[in-house]
């Protein structure tokens, strides 16, 4: 990193919408150097009062569902037709190649990448889930401070990233294919019930009829699932990133959700809940990390885990034994 700017200058530039400073701010947030982390905290504190005024949308779906093409088309629609400032972030705890996904994201989003009202930030290199979550949430704040009105958070990896993204967005979009059941292969149980909307992609040409049928079936299925805390029944729709058909409808659904949850106070309540959730998560992780560094703890843990697996002692006796290591 070049010589770092003054922190007040830096935050003012971000708040003024300067993309270069925003990018460097995210790089700072992503840095693992402790002096950078301290600086990042100061930067965030200055930016926070200007953050929060966006709609945060999580986008997930199995590989091959066309997430990038959808985001390209949807992003251009938001930035162009609706004149919104759009930021795209990706979350990928499994990836170990940062450079690879930079190129990947940008070339797959050709139009959006050069749009003056859009900002695309490729995913950070893979590391711990907690670390990725922190960086993404803090990047969201910086983008919001820079005036981005809609933040799209794409899940790239499989595994736990969906749950993580669900915990940091206002609206969770699940993209699906219209195959005959095969489309579910890569989706974990529980994800369907997290979705606020379910969009069948690639609804064009010969595929369109199949997509419509699938949408109708999912609509019925979603009605049978328990209702949302906010009284929202997840909606189903179809779209094509090729023709652009149905892209506006996706926005209409999100906008409807936004108005609905704004009115009943759920929108704000959920954000506060999420902030507290992440605070507690971070405390838990920190305390447990500390605990596991107590002398000999890891050996004892390994040993006792084996005994539990072999059914020699109960889970509780094992835990109690380890907890004896805590200072009094």
């Amino acid at each position: 990193m070049k010589k770092l700017p003054d922190i007040n200058e830096w935050s003012n530039a971000i708040i003024g919408g300067d993309i270069a400073y925003l990018s460097r701010g995210i790089t700072l947030v992503e840095s693992t150097l402790s002096e950078h982390q301290q600086l990042a905290e100061q930067l965030l504190e200055l930016c926070l009062p200007h953050a929060g005024k966006s709609i945060r949308i999580g986008i997930t779906g199995v590989p091959g569902v066309g997430k990038s093409s959808f985001i390209e088309k949807f992003g251009v629609y938001l930035a162009d037709t609706l004149q919104k400032k759009v930021a795209v972030l990706a979350i990928d705890p499994t990836s170990s190649k940062s450079k690879g996904s930079i190129l990947g994201d940008k070339t797959r989003m050709e139009q959006l990448a050069i749009h003056p009202r859009a900002f695309i930030r490729p995913s950070a290199a893979g590391e711990s889930l907690g670390g990725v979550a922190r960086k993404t949430r803090e990047s969201i704040y910086l983008c919001e401070a820079a005036g981005y009105e809609i933040i799209l958070v794409e899940t790239v990896g499989v595994g736990q990233s969906e749950t993580m993204v669900h915990g940091m967005v206002d609206f969770f979009l699940l993209l699906m294919l219209s195959g005959a059941g095969d489309e579910l292969q890569g989706i974990k149980r529980g994800i369907m019930e997290m979705a606020d909307a379910l969009i069948i992609t690639k609804a064009d040409g010969e595929n369109k009829l199949k997509a419509k049928t699938a949408a109708t079936e999912y609509k019925r299925a979603l009605h049978l699932l328990p209702a949302h805390e906010a009284g929202w029944i997840p909606e189903t729709s179809i779209c094509s990133s090729l023709t652009g058909e149905g892209i506006d409808e996706v926005w209409n659904i999100i906008d409807k959700y936004f108005r609905h949850t704004n009115l009943n106070g759920y929108f704000e309540a959920k954000r506060k809940q999420q902030a507290i959730f992440w605070m507690n998560e971070t405390i838990h992780n920190g305390v447990m990390e500390w605990f596991k560094q107590l002398p000999d703890l890891n050996n004892k843990l390994e040993e006792i885990t084996k005994q539990v697996q072999e059914g020699k002692i109960t889970s509780y006796a094992a835990a109690k034994h380890l907890l004896k290591q805590l200072p009094v």
Copy 2:
């Protein structure tokens, strides 16, 4: 509690199937006295080698779905027709009246309560989730050591008890009514995707046709949900606790699941995973309890939670601040 028996005598009596000793063993496990807890640990250690050889079935559903009537009919079918030894436990972290639910359970299960091959243990008095989970899991071990082949764990309270029971059973049964969508009111999101089978109750008289229609709809819906880790597609069926129709089919589904997951190794793998899960849960709870008792921690936590809610600092900065309290 009367004078306690010798621990070897006690465990031998349980392993021999003595119901009085089993009952007292569960009471010991439920006791909060630390001398009882130590004794309970010894008792469990002696019983554990004889535990594990049952099918553990979790049963949940909204109030009014007829859980107790179902368990009565299903339990008698297992004990009588199939000649199985059946234990019924209930989990109710919300209840504060232990005596009330004793009477409730036993009078609602008249035939099962007096059946020589059945053992019904009412839920322990309400307290912390972690405590209730420990007691229930340890009671399962004791019942298994006493030769019970099928353990039914009923969720009584609403709230988190479904997730808890799901984490300690082999098979998770969701009972539902055939209302027009209203039946979902009390079911939390996520529960549907946990279910290994979905049974529509009260399928008798005029209700039967409605139940059949509902079952068909749910069957379709469940096929649209992501498949189970074990490659099991949740099944749907109907039954009546009044006429007994369909009760055998519920068992057939469970038996099929048991054979399926035994063959592919999932059954054993899941049990080991659950044991490790509960060990880790208990460690987490213990460590966090210890952390929160550090000097002034609770005041600081309250103060900083407010700042996070008001958007003054990030979740991470808040957590980091609190983690400074850890001893070095």
